[in-house]
């Protein structure tokens, strides 16, 4: 029988691609994040999770950050003996030890850790911080990207998520906030990838009325089905795509709570 509980492997994929991957967007949105990287040499950190995902985060002197799948040219390599160990690093219960790039340890401590702390500040925002509309918008935008990427990871890895994904036909699904940021979930032969940019054309769309509504949805304060009735969420196109993405979205909270 299928185990419906969250599993460590799927969580590792989410933590790497959806959580650490959002550093890309943090660097785009937050001046403080960019300042941590400015005028420093490019540096690439590889994350190698045994039995799980591998990816490389590269930080550039112009304040940008990019994630690429796999380990091609990393300056620092952080190996993890299991998905649980990698998830522990994200939780703050495991301290990673580089197998390569000890000379760059200063970057890890002085740049990477502050960046992840800043990301945490936005992702687990305090109510008082959210009163600042600029912070609110940045936090909600980062959540949108994290959730959109997490949807793809759950659709590809999680046992229940894969069931939902196998019912989704090929095509692009636009998940966006009206007059705000958007992401594209691309489905090909039931495999999902997320592009962190709005879809130019799409086969199905789920559009949230505004940042506030998106935030309430992400925080679990409102329900998507109810919001369709009130007109706060607009859906269109291949509804079976939206429907099944919504089922996966239900599981995101299981992993990211």
């Amino acid at each position: 029988m299928v185990d419906s509980r969250p599993d460590a492997r799927t969580l590792a994929y989410i933590n790497l691609y959806a959580v650490l991957g959002t550093l890309e967007n943090l660097c785009e949105l937050d001046e403080g994040a960019r300042a941590l990287l400015t005028n420093k040499k490019p540096i690439a950190i590889g994350f190698q999770v045994k039995g799980g995902p591998s990816a490389t985060l590269t930080f550039y002197p112009n304040g940008r950050c990019r994630m690429e799948d796999g380990l091609t040219h990393c300056d620092i390599l952080l190996p993890f003996s299991s998905c649980e160990k990698f998830n522990g690093m994200i939780d703050g219960t495991v301290t990673p030890i580089p197998s390569k790039g000890f000379q760059h340890i200063k970057f890890l401590l002085k740049c990477f850790v502050p960046l992840t702390d800043l990301l945490t500040k936005y992702m687990r925002a305090k109510p008082e911080d959210l009163e600042d509309p600029v912070f609110f918008d940045k936090s909600t935008t980062l959540m949108l990207y994290t959730i959109a990427v997490a949807i793809a990871q759950i659709g590809n890895q999680d046992a229940i998520g894969k069931f939902s994904a196998h019912l989704i036909p090929d095509g692009d699904i636009s998940v966006c906030i009206k007059d705000g940021p958007g992401a594209t979930i691309r489905v090909e032969d039931h495999h999902m990838i997320t592009l962190k940019k709005p879809a130019a054309t799409y086969r199905a769309v789920m559009e949230f009325r505004d940042m506030k509504l998106a935030r309430d949805l992400f925080d679990g304060n409102v329900n998507a089905v109810a919001c369709i009735g009130t007109g706060d969420i607009r859906m269109g196109g291949m509804i079976s795509m939206v429907d099944n993405v919504n089922r996966i979205l239900d599981r995101v909270a299981l992993y990211l709570a």
Binding site: D3, F163, I228, G229, R234, I239
Partner: protein, 420 residues
């Protein structure tokens, strides 16, 4: 003259009130989410009254209704003969400690009408009787697995849902096996792989699922299924909740030339009075008797009286033939309007439950826009569900539907000058 464009101020007011006290305002298939009201602003959200082929919303907008309450309206809303029988029974009694003899009369009528029926068991909703059928199949065979056809809908109980639905446990669907419609070889293989474990094969008479063109049975498909089930001791359940009586008063299994072991009815039995019915063959009667399965209102007398009047009237009208004729007029008129405006409108399924899809794009956006324009102009249809005909639909209704369809196609085309 161009049709009036509906507005829905009062609908919205009522819906907003509803959301305060009812989860999601209107839940389920009559609601804007599951009903795919795209965009929600084009659709009425609350009804006021209905008569014949029409319903009026709380804003006073009238709709020619091609959903028929999703099936129960088969003779026309508030049919005088059915309602007279119901109201007469209401004067005598409805929900009583001792069930009315009307239950026996309706059971006898069902057994006389439905080809495979040796007995009749009554409940309220389709889901009640599909669940009864599954329980009876398991009780009779002492087996646990059930084979479904992908794209199925058999109700809302956990066993009928999918593993990724909210509130459904893997345990609820652990004994569900799935095959593709019309793929007999796959069914045969699934049965072989689960030899001695399959209690039932449950299927609608043809694939009338949502979000996809409906598919009729391939030549000989049902006959092969019937033979396999008989050979392997698998109970063959036909879920005729949606199509029942609209294709054949003797049951849709009869329409396709087989006899089911059990057949489930609901929507069209009593023209909107709430009753559902499981019918079956004699060898399953004791299994059904053994079930601990009942409900507070399952033996209410008013729907039984209504059901008797409805079935008799359906027989007088030769309803399946009548609906087929009307449906072919409707779909013919819609296709002509589509063609005149450069749209590729596909019609699938049995005519009396026709399914529509505009095939000019692969996103269904054009179809949703067209349905929206139809509803705004007073023809109620839905984007991704089969439609339903009722006996009261007139040629004038069909003519008006065609005129509105033409306007709606033109409105969509105007918004897409690059395509049309």
């Amino acid at each position: 003259m161009a049709s009036k464009i509906n507005t829905y101020e009062k609908s919205r007011e009522w819906f907003d009130r509803a959301t305060k006290v009812i989860p999601s305002g209107v839940y389920g298939h009559l609601g804007p989410a599951e009903g795919c009201f795209i965009p929600v602003s084009s659709f009425p959200l609350m009804g006021d009254r209905a008569k014949g082929s029409y319903f009026w919303d709380v804003d006073g907008n009238r709709f020619i209704d091609y959903m028929c309450a999703y099936g129960p309206n088969v003779l026309g809303y508030n049919d005088p003969d059915v309602d007279a029988a119901a109201l007469e029974q209401a004067k005598k009694g409805n929900c009583m400690t001792s069930p009315s003899y009307k239950m026996v009369e309706l059971a006898e009528l069902m057994v006389d009408t439905v080809n495979c029926a040796d007995w009749a068991f009554f409940a309220k909703n389709g889901n009640d009787v599909t669940t009864a059928a599954i329980m009876a199949a398991r009780a009779a065979t002492h087996r646990k697995k059930i084979i479904f056809v992908n794209g199925f809908y058999h109700g809302v109980a956990p066993w009928t849902q999918k593993i990724d639905y909210p509130g459904v446990l893997p345990e609820d669907v652990a004994n569900n096996l799935y095959v593709d419609w019309n793929d007999f070889e796959q069914l045969e293989k699934t049965v072989a792989e689960n030899e001695g474990e399959v209690a039932a094969f449950i299927s609608t008479p043809y694939l009338h699922g949502n979000f996809a063109d409906n598919v009729l049975p391939a030549d000989g498909y049902w006959q092969k299924v019937r033979k396999l089930c008989t050979e392997k001791g698998i109970v063959l359940i036909v879920d005729d909740v949606r199509a029942g009586f609209r294709l054949d008063l003797a049951g849709s299994d009869h329409f396709y030339g087989i006899e089911a072991d059990m057949i489930c009815f609901c929507k069209a039995i009593a023209n909107g009075w709430n009753v559902s019915c499981l019918c079956g063959k004699d060898f399953l009667k004791s299994a059904v008797s053994s079930l601990s399965y009942t409900g507070s209102y399952w033996m209410s007398a008013i729907p039984f009286a209504a059901g008797i009047a409805c079935i008799n009237k359906m027989k007088e009208l030769n309803l399946p033939v009548l609906l087929r004729e009307k449906a072919l007029k409707v779909t013919g008129a819609l296709k002509a309007a589509a063609e005149n405006n450069g749209f590729d409108l596909r019609v699938s399924g049995e005519p009396a439950l026709f399914y529509l899809r505009i095939a000019n794009d692969d996103s269904l956006v054009l179809h949703q826009e067209w349905i929206s324009e139809m509803v705004k102009r007073g023809v109620f249809m839905t984007s991704h569900h089969n439609h339903f005909l009722n006996a009261s639909l007139t040629d004038e209704d069909i003519k008006q539907t065609a005129e509105i369809a033409d306007e709606a196609f033109k409105a969509v085309a105007k918004n897409h000058p690059d395509l049309f």
